[in-house]
């Protein structure tokens, strides 16, 4: 049911962890529905470029693979460009997700958006 890319990404997730002095943090989901995704961003304040991104995820293989893929996709991008990444882009990069797992990619998109919102709020730019 999972693509090779999902299994490979799940087996070797990138960007796992916490950024202690993160400039933006976004958390989506709750334990009752079985998914929590927390994304931490380190952002260059002069250029708005995402220098580092890390994640912590409680969830299925698709949720973990989506977190890994999505954080990988935004590192090096400006926050504006990061916000342009939609869940479909994450699904595409993972070479597809089963229909009932599409919501995992939506969580990744939302967590990034919340982390950027958090950054902008802290910067007084929101």
């Amino acid at each position: 049911m999972y693509s090779e890319k999902v299994m490979e990404t799940f087996a070797h997730p990138q960007n796992v962890g916490v950024i202690e002095d993160a400039d933006g943090v976004g958390t989506v989901g709750n334990p009752t529905c079985g998914d929590i995704m927390k994304i931490y961003l380190k952002i260059d304040k002069d250029t708005d470029v995402i220098r580092d991104a890390k994640f912590q995820t409680f969830g299925c293989a698709a949720a973990i693979a989506s977190s890994s893929m999505a954080t990988g996709m935004i590192i090096g991008k400006s926050v504006d460009d990061a916000l342009k990444i939609k869940n479909r882009d994450v699904v595409e990069a993972l070479e597809g997700l089963p229909p009932q797992k599409i919501h995992c990619s939506v969580l990744a998109e939302e967590a990034i958006k919340l982390a950027v919102d958090d950054y902008r709020k802290k910067q007084g730019k929101s």
């Binding site: 999972y2 299994m7 799940f10 087996a11 997730p13 796992v16 958390t27 709750n30 334990p31 009752t32 529905c33 079985g34 998914d35 929590i36 995704m37 927390k38 912590q56 995820t57 409680f58 969830g59 299925c60 293989a61 698709a62 949720a63 973990i64 009932q100 797992k101």
Partner: protein
């Protein structure tokens, strides 16, 4: 190393059972309903299997009806009995932790205007006998309670339930799909009116099962067609499957003590090591009164499917009660009915041992499981290694 720990999902077919089935594909291929010699030879093999089932379960051969498996047997028992007894009433009682074959058949009956009472279970998964007794009414036709649960392995007091039903003049069906070959069953001694079983749970082939119906119990047909199974179940007789079922049940019941001792030793060793070596978990199901091959754990801070998939990457096959494996949004209805908190139900894993498993495989699984949980917990926003407790986000 490849380790199969999902025997409650299905077992391999015993090679000797397969050997017994082989002649009935290409050589003895006759239709068991045909009058000629080809047919009669097939019919003799089916009769032998019917006798094997009857001997294994303490019933008469005339009480054995072959079906396509557990789901058909459960559907037939519930719908067949309820439809045939509307003169008495339209009420049926079951438990909240039945297999979906029973629960979804109940939902269908509710749509048809029947009334169903779903009795609670306690925290170990045992049926609340007081509630069951109180639920029986003058218009109650049937009580259906599984002999042993497929997810947590909890064994139900079916002898006691059968006695209660008899005293109240109510029919009793038990879904014994997980119990055959693991628990001693005797249909006539225990007073069971109907019993469902499926061959692929006890080292027989898939796609064949049986419904035992005590003589004198009236039920409607589910599958209508030819005059097979004494005109009670249409469809060309599955001779090779039935031969396999007969051989498998004879072996499973004959070798039950030896098999149970083997899987119980591995299972208990596994529980012991896991409880000692992995923190923050919960054993789901009854601590002792459970199927000898079953163990079900909830691991805190992690989601079950991610554990399942990680174990799979290491060659270990298990199953999970998490919503992510079922395709629905809710985790296991069995764990929720037992009062397991939702987040723990999401982190549940079932390990079911079988004849071929070894101590080496069991120890390998413990080692892989330890590493898996360390890695997944390190990744979890709920896990705070400093405090070792749930961090609310």
């Amino acid at each position: 190393m490849k380790v199969y720990l999902d025997h409650a999902a299905t077992t391999y077919t015993d090679p000797e059972v397969f050997e017994a089935m082989k002649p009935y594909f290409c050589e003895v291929f006759g239709n068991a309903s045909s009058l000629h010699g080809f047919g009669r030879e097939a019919a003799r093999a089916v009769d032998k299997a019917r006798g094997q089932v009857a001997a294994a379960l303490g019933c008469k051969p005339s009480e054995v009806y072959f079906t396509s498996g557990g789901t058909e047997s459960d559907n037939w028992a519930l719908k067949g009995i309820m439809h045939a007894h509307t003169d008495k009433g339209r009420h049926l009682i079951t438990s909240k932790i039945e297999h979906h074959a029973v629960l979804h058949a109940c939902e269908q009956l509710e749509k048809e205007g029947f009334e169903v009472t779903y009795v609670d279970v306690d925290e170990n998964g045992k049926i609340r006998m007081d509630q069951l007794e109180a639920a029986i009414r003058p218009d109650t036709v049937l009580v259906s309670v599984m002999a042993a649960n497929n997810e947590v392995g909890t064994v139900q007091p079916i002898g006691e339930i059968a006695k209660l039903c008899k005293a109240k003049g109510v029919l009793f069906h038990t879904d014994a799909v997980q119990a055959v070959g693991s628990l001693p069953l005797n249909v006539s001694e225990q007073g069971i009116d109907l019993l469902s079983l499926s061959a692929h749970k006890f080292y027989g082939p898939k796609g064949v099962g049986a419904l035992i119906v005590r003589n004198g119990v009236r039920l409607d047909k589910l599958i209508i067609g030819g005059a097979q199974e004494r005109s009670m179940r249409g469809g060309t007789t599955n001779t090779p499957g039935i031969v396999g079922l007969g051989e498998a049940i004879a072996r499973a019941v004959g070798g039950m003590e030896e098999n149970n001792a083997h899987v119980r030793a591995l299972r208990d060793h596994f529980i012991d090591r896991v409880q000692k070596e992995i923190p923050d978990l919960r054993l789901n199901g009854h601590p002792t009164d459970r199927l000898p091959n079953n163990v079900n754990f909830s691991f805190e801070y992690v989601e079950g499917e991610s554990i399942l998939m990680t174990l799979d990457l290491k060659g270990i096959a298990v199953s999970s009660g998490s919503a992510c494996t079922s395709g629905s949004l809710d985790p296991s209805h069995v764990l929720l009915a037992m009062g397991v908190p939702v987040e723990l139900a999401h982190g549940s894993i079932r390990f079911t041992f079988g004849r071929r498993n070894t101590l080496e495989e069991t120890d390998y699984t413990v080692e892989v499981l330890k590493e898996t949980l360390q890695n997944l917990r390190a990744m979890s926003p709920l896990f705070n290694p400093q405090r070792g407790e749930i961090k609310h986000v």
